[in-house]
């Protein structure tokens, strides 16, 4: 059965956005970071864990005392900063993608079910969603970090446990609109059950929104993960996580500014790229979506 397209709404924005070029620079930045993360063992100039107390706090190559052996300098333990940033890309991107996929899968499922069944099911699920939405992610992560201990899995879990609610809210709203359309009624008359309507008719018609939301949220999750690692409630050392690296350089920011500066620039660059791409996707595919 073919997917029936939604009537196009918000027409005025469309003519304007049609002419907009796809965001080449953000896509290129994201691709570069993905490549760097995948090829980290081959790209990084040295071992990100190798310590050398003799080479502590070496500045970047263009400063006095800098050398090509450590292009971006070294940290407190003499580890090569560039290598740690390269490996840190793995942590940040993995945390961002895994968390968002998990949250979107759960959130979309809840939203689809709530929107399809309506009534009491909808009311109950939306109360839970609303309560979850207003809970600060960091508090949950803090409890987990202190009780179970900080780890990659806990960070992903803590963020996903809160984040799914945003997807549920938006998808449910969309489903409610789609449910009013004729093709859903026709499918039901033709004998399609709940599962078939949800997976064959509702889900494909909400995919655009899901893709937009996922892209917009990856950047947010990368920042939250970095904040948690910065606070010591995220990815535990010595794993190179950008947030943790910034924390390590915090106390020596006057004498060794590069330790904190470069991981921060890496976060800024990749998050900016995801946000710009997400904005473009939203304006192009789903102009009705507000800031979420």
């Amino acid at each position: 059965m073919s997917v029936v397209a939604l009537p196009e709404t918000a027409a005025p924005a469309l003519s304007e956005t049609r002419r907009r070029r796809p965001p080449i620079i953000p896509v290129a930045i994201i691709l570069v970071f993905v490549l760097v993360a995948v090829l980290a063992p081959w790209l990084s100039p040295s071992d990100p864990y190798e310590q050398s107390l003799r080479l502590r706090h070496r500045p970047p190559v263009w400063e006095e005392r800098g050398s090509w052996a450590h292009p971006l300098g070294t940290d407190r333990l003499g580890r090569d900063l560039l290598s740690r940033i390269v490996y840190g890309a793995r942590v940040s991107l993995a945390a961002g993608v895994v968390t968002v996929l998990l949250a979107s899968a759960v959130g979309a499922a809840v939203g689809l079910v709530a929107g399809y069944y309506g009534g009491r099911v909808d009311a109950t699920l939306m109360r839970v969603t609303d309560a979850t939405l207003s809970f600060p992610i960091i508090l949950l992560a803090l409890i987990l970090a202190v009780t179970v201990g900080p780890s990659f899995a806990n960070v992903v879990l803590a963020i996903a446990v809160i984040l799914w609610a945003r997807y549920a809210r938006v998808i449910r709203g969309q489903v409610l609109t789609i449910m009013q359309l004729d093709f859903i009624a026709q499918a039901r008359i033709a004998g399609a059950g709940a599962w078939r309507v949800i997976t064959r008719h509702l889900l494909p018609n909400t995919l655009n929104t899901l893709v937009v939301l996922v892209t917009l949220q990856i950047g947010y999750v990368i920042i939250v993960e970095a904040s948690l690692s910065f606070l010591g409630a995220g990815i535990p050392p010595p794993t190179p996580a950008w947030g943790g690296m910034i924390a390590e350089g915090r106390d020596v920011v006057t004498s060794a500014w590069w330790v904190s500066l470069f991981p921060g620039l890496a976060i800024l660059l990749v998050v900016l790229a995801f946000n710009l791409l997400g904005d473009w996707l939203r304006d192009t595919f789903d102009p009705r979506l507000r800031q979420l």
């Binding site: 809970f135 409890i143 179970v148 910065f230 010591g232 921060g264 507000r290």
Partner: protein, 306 residues
Amino acid sequence: MLRFVFFRLIQSLVALAILSIVVFVLARATGDPLHMILPMNASAEDYANARQYLGLDRPYVEQYLSFVGRAVVGDFGNSIRARRPVIELLQARLPNSLKLAAFAMSVSIALAFPLGIMAAVRKGTAVDRTAQIVSILGQSLPTFWVAIVLVEVVAGRLQWLPAGGNEGFTSYILPGFTLGWFVVAGLMRLLRSGMLEVLDSEYVKLARLKGVVEHRVVWVHALKNALIPVVTFAGIYFAILVTTAIVVETVFAWPGLGRLAYDGITSRDFPVIQAVVLTTAAIVALVNLCVDCLYALIDPRIRYAR
């Protein structure tokens, strides 16, 4: 309306109860709390005595009820690190956090409103582009990193403002700005998109036809309805503000709840973390309750929807 407030109140209490169970279960599931309290060389007998003294030999349900009962009256036990009642620490820190949050909120509202509204009114001009750059940067810059850079440049190299502590008004500027920055971005986007939608509506056109002066159309007629999405998101933004505050307070050595939480994690001070989490959650729940009531007040459709 009263019915609505009542049901929302019950809902907040249920949410808080669930959270307190999570906190309680996690605390018990991760090992004997006595390991943190008793000295290394304590005997089995010491453990048995302490367990009885602290009531840890009673059934879990009973323990949970007494934990909640004490938490409600503000008794969170003693801080393991500071060796003082946790409630004393909370009383000392909470006002500082509230002051900083209030300052940050005023800064962000003062910046976001004019910028967001002007961006919508003058869509496509330099004002709009500036607003968009501010907003995208606000959402892409990690707060803690901005904080560190500000401390180094403005407080360290330039010596313009103090780097930390809370002595006098000047010490509010850096942390307040850092904290407010993130909120400005989101608030401005909401206002811009809300205003764009409303300015295009029939009633605004009618107001113009009637000959209402333009600034009145924008600031009174349009803004009133553009505020609805802002109020909807106020609860979420408050939760984000609380999250960000923990990071900002840590970097600026601001003696608030966030800093207390950070110190709690680094020293595995469980009673403190527990207290901070529950207090913050209670504040967030209260703010959300107020936001929802305000929402129901300005948009009557909400009241009848449930």
